[in-house]
Amino acid sequence: MSMQDLFCKFHKNIKVETDELREKRDIIVDKIRNSLKNSDNPVPELLNQGSYIYGVGVKPIGDSEYDIDVGLVFSIKSSDYEAKIVRKWVYDAIATHTNNVEDRGPCIRVHYAAGYHVDLVIYSKYKDNDSVENYQLAFKNNTWHPSEPKQLKEFISDKRKPFVNTKDSSGADQLQRVTRYLKRWNDIFIPGDSDDKPFGLATLLLVIEKLPIPYVDVNGNSTDLEALINIVAKAKNTLGRIIIRKPTQEYEDVFSKLSDDAMNKFKNRLESLYSTLVSVRNMSDNDAAQSLQKQFGNDFPVPDKKEDELSIDSSMKKKAIADMDAAIPLFTNPSSPWSRG
């Protein structure tokens, strides 16, 4: 089993299967829409967003829940309505069928079934004179903030284009895989919700900025380890805080939620991750996997004994070939095989 095989297996272990989430999303979104239809308020359109739309969702660990991000888009002019009013439409609609609702900063979180929650993000959308769609996001503090969810989606899919040949059997490219590895790495060190943990989007945008093109070997096969080393090296070497600006309005620094202390801890973690990644380059698969488990957790696979024996086999094979190659020049006049045909 090669290093890349180990990473791909790890990826398979942590990747969110979106089908089930999609089902959950549809159920809750239907409920919300029905409640809104029954009221006198406008009915929103849906805008799917978030990690699993970008293909970077990771399975939650411990007590954490799967989260599903859904945008609710009201075709209204934000200056005509207060943000809190629009948020209340949604809040009230949900409250008719569940009381497990949490009003959070940029979103309304609905705890659905065990292990799932849906984050609803509320937008207003209106077309200006040039028919340009303007999206505004309704915050909890009753303010509207310009937002460009569609442009963000486009930005991400644009940045994925150079990675088209790095897709694995699950259809995920190197950019997505590496983002998932780092998200899981964050979850391992900071389980649960925490202001000290970078947003999923922040991790994705960090990877996008530090990894403009894929890392592959001479045969064109992905080398996710090298891609990771490259990203982590660049990130850890940043002077001062790591600042990654959202490529769309409001161009805010997606790492700004981290306090200076949390940022320092994050950079120290990057430093330690970097040394681990570099050290495993020259290790046997088994030793490498054990080191990597300390960073990425137990979903990182350790090759079983049989696979390890095979790798000993392959190293003996390499030795045998090298020894035979060295013997070839000793044949001064070798015959070549033929057949009478």
């Binding site: 045998a320 070939i321 190659d325 044949f331 095989p337 033929w338 009478r340 045909g341």
Partner: protein
């Protein structure tokens, strides 16, 4: 039988074969048969071994012995260079025998030459998928390739002209070289043509000329140059 007729040759055989302690020989139905495990070595270590059987030809050492792999570890097909008719190993292109096991050479040179190269090739092929010393095409095509290799010429008509030169009683070194370089023979292919005529007996060259004529008649123009790979030539 050669071993009763030529006592000296048989004595030489016995003394040479005794140098290989992993081989035993016996006489079965008047034939000399060698059996044992042939070890394949890299530069420093044993890679593997093959159980083999060598049936010494009735007119040894004029005709080479037949070699068999009897441990059933190599598929017996032309792709692995075994003859379909009797599963014998095809150690070399027929005329190549005179290059790698010249007339007059004994069993020791046969084993240390073509037998060693053949099983080294098999073990290398198993590990890497490559033939370390290249491989000839099957049948007549491989024979022409062998001459193309010795003369380092691809064109069938030029190979033919060069082989015809070897049949001349005397080669005039000031003649133009048939290869088309415009140079005199002495400055060009004379050396290769001469050494070929020293190694390969006349009857083999006459045979080769027939084959080449036949190939030309079928519209073929060139022979493949094989790579005796990784060997500096």
């Amino acid at each position: 039988m050669w071993w009763c007729i030529d006592k000296n040759e048989f004595e030489r055989f016995k003394s040479e074969i005794s140098e290989f302690d992993f081989f035993n020989y016996r006489i079965e139905n008047d034939r000399v048969i060698i059996e044992g495990c042939w070890p394949v070595y890299g530069k420093t270590s044993l890679i593997r071994s093959y159980k083999i059987k060598i049936v010494v030809s009735d007119d040894f050492p004029n005709t080479p012995p037949a070699v068999f792999e009897v441990g059933d570890e190599i598929p017996k097909s032309p792709a692995y260079h075994f003859n379909i008719s009797d599963n014998s190993a095809c150690l070399f292109a027929r005329p190549e025998r005179f290059n790698v096991w010249p007339l007059g050479a004994g069993i020791k040179d046969f084993i240390n030459g073509p037998v060693k190269a053949f099983f080294f090739s098999q073990a290398y092929k198993e590990l890497t998928g490559e033939w370390p010393f290249g491989e000839w095409s099957h049948g007549d095509e491989g024979i022409v390739e062998f001459y193309a290799h010795l003369l380092y010429v691809q064109s069938l008509t030029i190979i033919k002209e060069m082989l015809e030169l070897t049949l001349e009683h005397k080669i005039f070194r000031q003649w133009k070289c048939p290869c088309g370089s415009g140079k005199r023979l002495i400055m060009c292919h004379a050396e290769r043509i001469n050494s070929l005529s020293k190694i390969i007996p006349r009857f083999e060259i006459l045979e080769a000329l027939k084959i080449i004529d036949n190939e030309i008649a079928q519209g073929k123009k060139t022979a493949r140059l094989i790579k005796k790979s990784k060997i500096v030539e």
